[in-house]
C-alpha cells in the first residue's frame, strides 16, 4: 500500500525514545574523555582584575584550566549571521564576542574560565576554588533605559548602546497624517517580556580531536549542524571545514535556542586538541537560564487608527528591541525582518510604518524563540484590535471580518503585496475565524458571560487572527535583507541496489518527526513501503549540506528538496525501465512502485530497475550506472500560514486567579502530510504561547541580575495549567512549493499569546474595569491589582 500522505502514520522514531534508547549528547561517552565545567560571571558588568587558578589546579583529577588569556589571538569570537544596517546606511555595530571573556564581563553567565577534569563533580569542586577578582560596574538591563542619555555603556564603541536603527513601510508622515484624521485611534504601550526557551534537554557538547586523521568531531545539541560547522570553521577557529565533522544527535527540543552557534562549541573543539583528550560539557539548567539565547523582550508603543466604520486606516509601531550583551546568530533579523514585515497582519491597512531600535544591554543574548518576531508583531496587532473593539463598542470578530484581505489563491489571483515588503502567497482568512466562532459557540458564550457578571467568577473571551512568514526562505531575498548565508535546503535520495531508499536531508529533527513525515513523502511518491525508506539527518559527514530546522521550514523547504531528488530518480529509473521493457519512456506510466507500458500489462518493478542500475549488464547505452541524486531547493517565496485563535478565561474576582477554560485554534498550514504530527506541533506551540501570557518571564533587576534563573523561580507551564485544546484546520495550499505545504511549527505560539491576554482584558472590561492592559505574565497579583483601579 502506498498511500501515506495525509495519514496519521505513527512515528518511526518513537521506538528508541520510549525504550530509553535515544542518544542525546550527554549520553555519549568516549574513552579517555574529560568533563568540562565553565566558571561564569555572577555580575552583569565588571572588569576582571585577576583570575587565580592555583588552588583549583591542585585538586586531584583536574586536567586543565583555561581562561580567555589562554586562547590564542588568532581565534576569533562568535560571529553574527545577519547584518542589519542603520537607517542612514552606517554598518551595524558588531562588538566582539570572545569564547571566554578578556577583561570585561557583560552579562550574568558570561564565561570566565573552563575547568576540565576526570569527572564533572571534580571540575565543579575545582571551579569553586578559582578566585576571580571583579571590579563591579553599573549595568543596564532594560532596552528603553539603555537608550537614555548617561546609561551604562555595554560596549565602548557602540554609543548609546544602539546596535542599529531600522524602519520599514510607508513614510512616517503619511502614517501620522492618516492617524490624525482617523475617527478613532487605539494606542497602547506594550512590554513583550523576555522568555527562556527551556528545551528540556539542556545544551551539551562533546568534542574530540583525532590525531591520526587530523580531524575533529563534535556532537552538539543543535538544530543546525552544517551552519555550526561553517561559522565555527570559517569565522572562529580557521580550521578547514573538511577537517570538522559536526553531529547533531538526538536533540531534546530546541524552539530556536539551538539554532545558533555558541561559544562552548568552538571552545571545546579548540580545547580538545589543546589538551589532547575528548571533552564533554553538559549545561546545567541554571546555566541554561543564563546562557541559552532568550526570546522576545520588546518594549513598544503602537497606534492603530480606524474610520467610523471600523476600517483600519493606519498603524504606527515603535519598538525598542533588547538584543542582550552580544549578538547571537540571528538576533538582528528577529525584531526587523521577522517582525516589522508582519505588521500588515491579515488586514488591508493602507498605511503602515514600523520603527525599531535594537539595543545592547547587560543581559544574556536574545534571539529567535518559537515564532521569532512574528509573535511580537501579532501580539501588538491583535491586542490593538481587541482593545479597539472594546473602545469603539464593536464586536471583535466583526471588526476583523471587516478588515480581512479578500481571499486569493496565488494562482488565479496574484499574491497580496503588503505595505511592509512581503508578498503573501495565498490566503483565505474568513473561514478560519468563522470556524473558530462556530466551535466556541460564540452567541451562547456571550450569554454565559453576561450571566457570570453577577457571580465572583467573571468570564472573558479573546481573539487573535494571525499570519506568519515561514519556510524561511529564498536565499536572494534573505541575502538582500542582511542574511550572511543562503536559506535553501539539500536532499540526497540514494536508492540501494535492492530498491530500498536512504534519504539524506539537511533539515534536522529535534522532535518534529522528520523520520516519519519525510518517509511518508518518499514512500508515496516512489510507490514503495514506508519501511523501505530511511531518513538520515544531522551529520555533516553524511549529509551534503543543510541549513537546519527553524522558521517552520523543514517540510516546505527540506521536503521540497526531497521531492526534487525523487523526480530525478524516477526520471532516470524510467530510462532503465524503458530499456528493460523495450518501450519508449513516453509510453510508460509509473504507479504503485512499477513502470507499466501504457495499455498493456507489461511492467517492471522499482526494485528490478534499481538492481539493474547497479548491475548494468543489460543497460541503456550511454547512461551512467547507479540511482542516486542530490538536489538543492531554494524556494520562490516565504510561505504564509494563518489562523484564528480564541481563548476563554475565568477570573476569580477575589484573588485575580485566572483559569484558562477553553482554547480554540483553527490554523491553516497549507497541505498536511501527517495530521497527527501537525496537531502535536500546534499543541506544543499553544502551550508555549499561553505560557508566555500566563506564567513565564525572565526577570533582570536593575543591576542586571537574573533573579529567576531556575525552575524554583521561573514558572514553567505544567499539565494542570491547560485544558485540552480544541483544534481544527482549513487548507489553503501554498502555490509555490511542490507539496503545497506552509509549515506548522510556530503557528500555535504566534497566535495564542494575545488571545489569552485579550480574554482577560475582555473579562475585566465587561465587568466594569476599563483596564487596557495587563502586563504578561498575567499573575493573579497583576490581575487583582488591575481590578483595584
Amino acid at each position: 500500500m502506498t498511500n501515506y500522505i495525509g495519514k496519521s502514520v505513527k512515528r518511526v522514531e518513537d521506538k528508541r525514545f520510549i525504550t530509553g534508547q535515544g542518544n542525546y549528547t550527554d549520553d555519549i561517552k568516549i574513552p579517555n574523555m574529560v568533563h568540562a565545567y565553565i566558571v561564569r560571571s555572577p555580575y552583569a558588568h565588571a572588569h576582571v582584575k585577576n583570575i587565580d587558578t592555583a588552588e583549583a589546579l591542585k585538586v586531584p583529577g583536574v586536567v586543565s584550566i583555561l581562561t580567555g588569556a589562554d586562547i590564542p589571538e588568532a581565534i576569533a569570537g562568535v560571529p553574527c549571521g545577519w547584518q542589519v544596517d542603520f537607517k542612514n546606511g552606517d554598518t551595524m555595530k558588531e562588538p566582539p564576542h570572545p569564547l571566554l571573556v578578556r577583561g570585561t564581563v557583560r552579562h550574568v553567565g558570561d564565561g570566565v574560565a573552563v575547568v576540565m577534569a576526570e569527572t564533572k563533580a571534580i571540575a565543579k569542586d575545582a571551579a569553586d576554588l578559582i578566585d576571580v577578582d571583579y571590579d563591579v560596574l553599573d549595568a543596564v538591563a532594560d532596552p528603553k533605559k539603555a537608550a537614555e542619555p548617561g546609561a551604562p555603556q555595554v560596549h565602548p564603541d557602540c554609543p548609546g548602546n544602539l546596535c542599529f536603527d531600522w524602519e520599514l513601510g510607508n513614510p512616517k508622515e503619511e502614517v501620522a497624517a492618516a492617524l490624525a484624521s482617523a475617527h478613532h485611534v487605539t494606542e497602547l504601550d506594550f512590554v513583550n517580556q523576555r522568555v527562556v526557551p527551556n528545551a528540556m534537554e539542556t545544551r551539551g557538547v562533546v568534542a574530540q580531536y583525532d590525531t591520526a586523521y587530523d580531524k575533529y568531531t563534535i556532537w552538539t545539541s543543535t538544530q543546525n549542524p552544517h551552519l555550526i560547522r561553517l561559522l565555527m570553521c570559517a569565522f572562529v577557529l580557521g580550521i578547514p571545514e573538511h577537517k570538522v565533522r559536526v553531529v547533531g544527535p538526538d536533540v531534546g527540543g530546541g524552539f530556536g535556542s539551538k539554532i545558533f552557534h555558541y561559544a562552548e562549541e568552538a571552545l571545546l573543539v579548540w580545547a580538545s586538541k589543546h589538551i589532547g583528550r575528548p571533552i564533554k560539557w553538559t549545561c546545567d539548567r541554571s546555566e541554561a537560564f543564563m546562557t541559552d539565547a532568550h526570546g522576545r523582550d520588546h518594549n513598544s508603543n503602537a497606534k492603530m487608527g480606524f474610520d467610523k466604520d471600523g476600517k483600519i486606516v493606519a498603524l504606527q509601531a515603535t519598538t525598542f528591541a533588547n538584543l542582550g550583551a552580544y549578538l547571537s546568530t540571528f538576533a538582528p533579523a528577529v525584531p526587523t525582518y521577522l517582525h516589522g514585515t508582519l505588521m500588515q497582519g491579515l488586514y488591508t491597512t493602507p498605511k503602515v510604518n514600523v520603527d525599531v531600535k535594537a539595543m545592547f544591554t547587560h543581559t544574556n543574548a536574545v534571539d529567535a524563540y518559537r515564532g521569532a518576531g512574528r509573535p511580537e508583531a501579532t501580539y501588538l496587532l491583535e491586542r490593538l484590535l481587541d482593545l479597539a473593539a472594546l473602545e469603539m463598542d464593536m464586536d471583535p470578530a466583526e471588526l476583523r471580518l471587516k478588515n480581512f484581505i479578500p481571499a486569493f489563491d496565488g494562482v488565479e489571483q496574484p499574491g497580496y503585496q503588503t505595505q511592509v515588503a512581503l508578498q503573501y502567497d495565498s490566503g483565505n482568512y474568513e473561514p478560519v475565524l468563522k470556524r473558530a466562532l462556530e466551535m466556541v459557540g460564540y452567541e451562547n458564550f456571550r450569554k454565559d458571560q453576561a450571566a457570570a457578571l453577577s457571580t465572583n467568577k467573571i468570564l472573558g473571551i479573546g481573539f487573535s487572527t494571525y499570519i506568519e512568514a515561514c519556510g524561511i526562505a529564498p536565499s536572494a531575498v534573505v541575502g538582500a535583507l542582511g542574511a550572511r548565508a543562503g536559506l535553501f535546503e539539500s536532499a540526497q535520495v540514494r536508492v540501494q541496489p535492492t530498491g530500498k531508499v536512504s534519504v539524506y536531508t539537511g533539515s534536522h529533527s529535534h522532535g518534529q518527526g522528520h523520520e516519519t513525515t519525510f518517509a511518508q513523502i518518499v514512500a508515496d511518491k516512489m510507490g514503495i513501503a514506508l519501511e523501505d525508506v530511511e531518513i538520515i539527518h544531522g551529520d555533516s559527514d553524511s549529509v551534503a549540506f543543510g541549513m537546519g530546522t527553524y522558521g517552520s521550514r523543514s517540510l516546505a523547504v527540506g521536503g521540497s528538496a526531497i521531492v526534487k531528488s525523487i523526480e530525478k530518480v524516477l526520471d532516470k529509473g524510467a530510462k532503465v525501465a524503458a530499456h528493460l521493457l523495450e518501450a519508449s519512456v513516453d509510453d510508460l506510466d509509473y504507479a504503485e512502485g512499477k513502470w507499466t507500458v501504457k495499455g498493456t500489462d507489461k511492467s517492471v518493478s522499482f526494485g528490478d530497475v534499481s538492481l539493474t542500475a547497479y548491475v548494468p549488464h543489460n543497460y541503456p547505452e550511454g547512461l551512467e550506472p547507479g540511482l542516486d541524486f542530490s538536489s538543492f531547493y531554494d524556494p520562490a517565496n516565504f510561505t504564509y500560514p494563518f489562523g484564528a485563535h480564541i481563548a476563554i478565561v475565568e477570573i476569580d474576582k477575589e484573588t485575580g486567579a485566572t483559569k484558562l477554560l477553553r482554547f480554540i485554534a483553527v490554523d491553516d498550514v497549507g497541505n498536511v502530510i501527517n495530521p497527527m504530527i501537525v496537531d502535536g506541533q500546534i499543541h506544543g506551540g499553544l502551550a508555549q504561547g499561553i505560557g508566555q501570557a500566563m506564567h513565564e518571564g525572565a526577570l533582570y533587576d536593575d543591576t542586571g541580575q537574573l533573579i529567576n534563573g531556575s525552575y524554583m523561580d521561573y514558572c514553567m507551564p505544567r499539565a494542570d495549567d491547560f485544558p485540552s485544546f480544541e483544534i481544527d484546520r482549513t487548507v489553503t495550499p501554498c502555490p509555490h512549493n511542490p507539496l503545497g505545504v506552509k509549515g506548522a511549527g510556530e503557528a500555535g505560539c504566534i497566535g495564542s499569546t494575545p488571545a489569552v491576554v485579550n480574554a482577560v482584558v475582555d473579562a475585566l472590561w465587561k465587568a466594569g474595569y476599563k483596564v487596557k492592559d495587563i502586563p504578561m505574565p498575567m499573575t493573579p497579583e497583576r490581575v487583582w491589582t488591575a481590578m483595584q483601579g
Binding site: 496519521s8 505513527k10 512515528r11 522514531e13 518513537d14 521506538k15 528508541r16 525514545f17 520510549i18 525504550t19 530509553g20 534508547q21 535515544g22 542518544n23 542525546y24 550527554d26 549520553d27 561517552k29 563533580a121 526557551p197 527551556n198 528545551a199 528540556m200 534537554e201 539542556t202 538526538d250 536533540v251 531534546g252 527540543g253 524552539f255 553538559t282 546545567d284 539548567r285 541554571s286 529535534h510 522532535g511 518534529q512 518527526g513 497527527m676 504530527i677 496537531d679 502535536g680 499543541h683 506544543g684 506551540g685 499553544l686 502551550a687 508555549q688 531556575s710 525552575y711 524554583m712 514553567m716 505544567r718 499539565a719 494542570d720 491547560f722 485540552s724 485544546f725 500555535g748
Partner: protein, 159 residues
C-alpha cells in the same frame, strides 16, 4: 570516601562504589550506562529523571545512590518485558505523546505509578499527577491521551 552499594536494577543485581554525595541518577547513567533516565534540571523540578524505587516513582536526582543500597529500581529500560512494550509505551506511541522524547521516560514512569494507585484516572487527575513532570514539546495534550490509552488497555487486560 567510596561506599559499596548493591542495587537491583531492572531485575539485575549490580554492585558499585559511589561517593557519598553521588546521586542515584548519576549512578544509573554513569556507572550502569542506563542513559534512558535523563537530567533536565538541578532543582528537583522537571521529573525527567523519574524512576521507580521499590515500586514507587521518585526523582532519581533527589535520591542519593547510597540510599538505593539494597533497593529495587526500575528505569525506562525495564518497562518492556521480553521485547513487548508496556501499555504506557504503546500509549505514548499510539497517541503521539512524545516529540523530542526527552521528558518521555520520566513521564512514563510517573504515569505507571499513577495507574497503579488509580486505574481509571480522570483527565483532571492525570494532569494533577503530572505536576512534577515538565514537557516543553507536546503541550501535555497528547500525554494525557497516552495515559488514558494505557489505562484503558491495562483495565481491559486485567478485566
Amino acid at each position: 570516601m567510596k561506599n559499596k552499594i548493591s542495587v537491583n536494577v531492572n531485575g539485575k543485581q549490580y554492585e558499585g562504589e559511589v561517593e557519598g554525595r553521588e546521586l542515584l541518577v548519576n549512578f544509573l547513567r554513569e556507572h550502569l550506562s542506563l542513559t534512558g533516565t535523563h537530567i533536565g534540571c538541578d532543582t528537583s523540578s522537571c521529573g525527567a529523571c523519574t524512576i521507580h524505587l521499590n515500586g514507587h516513582a521518585v526523582k532519581s536526582c533527589t535520591v542519593l545512590a547510597v540510599q538505593a543500597d539494597g533497593a529495587e529500581v526500575t528505569t525506562v529500560e525495564g518497562l518492556a518485558t521480553n521485547g513487548e512494550l508496556h501499555p504506557i509505551q504503546e500509549g505514548f506511541k499510539e497517541e503521539h505523546g512524545l516529540q523530542c522524547g526527552f521528558c518521555t521516560p520520566g513521564m512514563m514512569m510517573t504515569a505507571v505509578d499513577l495507574l497503579k494507585s488509580n486505574a481509571n484516572p480522570t483527565e483532571h487527575e492525570i494532569r494533577d499527577a503530572l505536576e512534577g513532570n515538565f514537557c516543553r514539546c507536546t503541550g501535555y495534550h497528547n500525554i494525557v491521551k497516552s495515559i488514558q490509552y494505557a489505562a484503558k488497555k491495562m483495565n481491559g487486560a486485567t478485566a
